[in-house]
């Protein structure tokens, strides 16, 4: 039963991170620079 809750959590976060992908890439670039 807890699988559903994990899937939901991961899916929402993944969708959100995908939406702000450009910004995350920039942040990563800043960190690795």
């Amino acid at each position: 039963m807890s699988l559903f809750w994990w899937l939901w959590t991961v899916a929402v976060l993944a969708l959100y991170l995908n939406g702000i992908g450009d910004i995350l890439a920039t942040l990563l670039h800043l960190v690795l620079r």
Partner: protein, 629 residues
């Protein structure tokens, strides 16, 4: 001095609100924490409301504001009595979360201690306050959307500037953001234990849109103080039937309307909610409406007095404007394009109403302003967990619960915003966001009590959201921290962060009080110390700048009538500007190379360079009409 001014204003807000709650016999009715946070929210509104009347009473200046602030601050005595003797023993988890809460609080303080660099703040929120202090009364600027607008919140900035200068205003907006965090906490405490309540407040106050708008002059975060008290007071009115709560709801609604036009939608949403949930108590609705009117009339009267339209320019064509007021049919038609542009890509339809939250969260259009400064995924994350809680409690008076009332007010406001709102920027919805997230969080916690198996994924999810929020808050403040940790001068900081700032030191050193600069870079407005005129093509018609206008004679006449002596233009000059320069009416006096930034917080997003020239208007010039397009 700046810190002292911010502290004095904080006491004034706390005391002013406490006076009001005491008069309404509610100070002892509320939980001690709420007595403090409601006092601050109501007192913040009272401070801005009283400032409007200062020019008529004791003067819109430092002594006037000091007398006002100290008078209001006297209310902290009964407030102190109310909260004395309260004991609270925090758990380890609570202390840990409170330590985490220090991260956004201190990074916000860093932003407040650096020179203000937020675009909207510098374009009009702070300048309106600064000019009001300089001229001893609120200044009317015939500019739609950012000049002739309700200014209750800006008047509290004026109080801060009069008492302690620009940095006092920075600290004041920081204090108000921190107090919003406290209000969120005391609101959540109505339903949640201290630790989940603190987590909820922390998650909401660190939403990227909150961080972005918090330590700035932007109105929405301050309006959230009002919307939260408004919604809870409506719920308390329904629950208790007491007129005092209806009056508090009305006062909060009124000051929200005095802060921004969208506050009117809040007034309507709360009024309709009151009718829906207390249909047989017209006295409560009347008390709400009269209080809202008393708190919100000022700026609509002010607008009407200056233009003939209480909601300039929305009633253009429907009411008589004062003779000679600088607005016309062409400008109105062009101004309406603003809304069309802002809504580009999204039809006004039921489908948009349903899909907008999803799109704004997961695949935002640039017009939503929600990629870097949105609401984050918290709401969507909570939904199924909250449904669990709702299902669990479905037989417990759910239809009339306070959380339902909060949700209804927010949904009604959202529907009105989608139907009438001029823009799709998510931050305009900020005052409604806690009214949705708070019920979701409470319902989710109730759901976990029933299905403990869901606890781990939810805790992991909100942990990830909190980390994201804190990372964004830290990135947002990194620039300011770098400034504070270095020997960089304020001018160098602004030069680095404000495209076109080079114009400011030149203008302040070269021009005087008899000059007037026509500028197009709105973010320079606050730091200019000489008379200025913001040349917006859409928002004003005093100097008509709409694209497609071809008559340089008219432009010249309008500039001369507005008293403009200088202007700064981007190269190369085109259209009427090129014609004026060719005919010797514009004389170049200085040249600047400026930089463009995509983001102050993330300079790696890129930028570029452009050139500008400062021109003096040659008063002896005789301009001839040209048949060149």
């Amino acid at each position: 001095m700046s810190a002292v001014a911010a502290i004095v204003l904080a006491f004034a807000a706390l005391g002013g609100g406490a006076h009001m709650l005491r008069r309404l016999n509610l100070l002892d009715e509320l939980a001690p924490g709420e007595a403090v946070t409601w006092s601050f929210a109501l007192g913040f509104g009272l401070l801005g409301w009283s400032a409007f009347l200062l020019p008529f009473v004791q003067g819109f200046n430092r002594p006037g504001f000091l007398i006002l602030a100290l008078t209001l601050a006297s209310g902290v005595i009964p407030l102190g009595r109310r909260i004395s003797g309260i004991r609270f023993r925090p758990t380890r988890a609570w202390i840990g979360l409170a330590a985490v809460a220090l991260i956004p609080t201190l990074s916000g303080l860093a932003v407040a201690l650096a020179p203000m660099a937020d675009a909207d703040t510098l374009a009009y929120h702070y300048p309106l306050a600064k000019w009001a202090v300089a001229s001893g009364a609120p200044v009317f600027i015939p500019r739609a959307a950012d000049g002739a607008v309700p200014q209750l919140v800006e008047m509290t900035y004026a109080a801060a500037m009069a008492l302690g200068g620009g940095y006092a205003a920075n600290l004041w907006v920081w204090v108000s953001t921190a107090m919003l965090g406290a209000l969120l906490y005391t609101s959540a405490r109505r339903w949640l234990a201290p630790t989940p309540a603190l987590a909820t407040a922390l998650l909401i106050v660190t939403l990227p849109a909150m961080v972005y708008g918090g330590v700035s002059g932007q109105i929405e975060v301050r309006m959230t103080l009002f919307s939260l008290v408004l919604a809870l007071a409506v719920a308390d009115t329904v629950r208790t039937g007491r007129i005092g709560f209806a009056i508090v709801a009305g006062l909060a609604a009124g000051v929200a309307a005095g802060s921004k036009y969208t506050g009117l939608l809040l007034v309507a949403s709360a009024g309709v909610t009151l009718i829906l949930f207390a249909p047989r108590r017209p006295k409560l609705l009347l008390a709400f409406a009269l209080a809202a009117l008393a708190a919100g009339w000022q700026w609509y009267w002010w607008m009407w007095r200056h233009t003939g339209d209480p909601v300039f320019p929305m009633l253009w064509g429907h009411v008589a404007y004062h003779a000679g007021f600088p607005w016309n049919d062409e400008q109105q038609a062009y101004f309406k394009q603003f809304s069309v542009l802002e809504w580009s890509g999204v039809p006004r339809s039921l489908a948009s109403v349903v899909t907008y939250p999803w799109r704004a969260t997961f695949s935002p259009l640039p017009g939503f302003d929600s990629d870097r400064t949105g609401f984050g995924p918290l709401g969507f994350l909570l939904v199924p967990f909250a449904l669990l809680g709702v299902w669990r409690r479905r037989r417990r008076r759910l239809p009339t619960s306070a959380l339902t009332i909060l949700t209804v007010i927010a949904v009604l406001e959202y529907l009105a915003w989608m139907g009438l709102g001029p823009s799709l920027r998510v931050r305009h919805l900020l005052p409604e966001v806690p009214l949705i997230l708070l019920p979701l969080a409470v319902a989710a916690v109730r759901g976990l009590e029933w299905r403990p198996a869901a606890a781990r994924p939810l805790v992991a999810g909100i942990g990830a959201v909190l980390l994201l929020n804190l990372a964004a808050a830290s990135a947002f403040s990194a620039n300011a921290i770098r400034y504070l940790a270095s020997t960089e001068s304020p001018e160098a900081f602004l030069d680095r962060n404000l495209p076109g700032f080079e114009v400011v030191p030149w203008t302040n050193a070269t021009l005087g009080p008899d000059d007037r600069l026509l500028l197009f870079n709105r973010t320079l407005a606050y730091y200019l110390e000489v008379p200025q005129f913001l040349g917006h093509e859409m928002f004003q018609a005093e100097v008509e700048l709409r694209p497609g206008l071809t008559d340089p004679v008219r432009l010249w006449a309008q500039m001369r009538r507005a008293g403009i002596t200088h202007t700064v233009l981007q190269e190369p000059l085109t259209g009427r500007w090129a014609q004026l320069a060719e005919q010797g009416c514009l004389v170049p006096v200085a040249r600047f190379t400026s930089h463009i930034l995509q983001s102050r917080s993330l300079p790696a997003l890129g930028g570029g360079q452009y050139h500008e020239t400062a021109f003096a208007l040659n008063r002896g010039c005789v301009i001839a009409a040209s048949d060149r397009p």
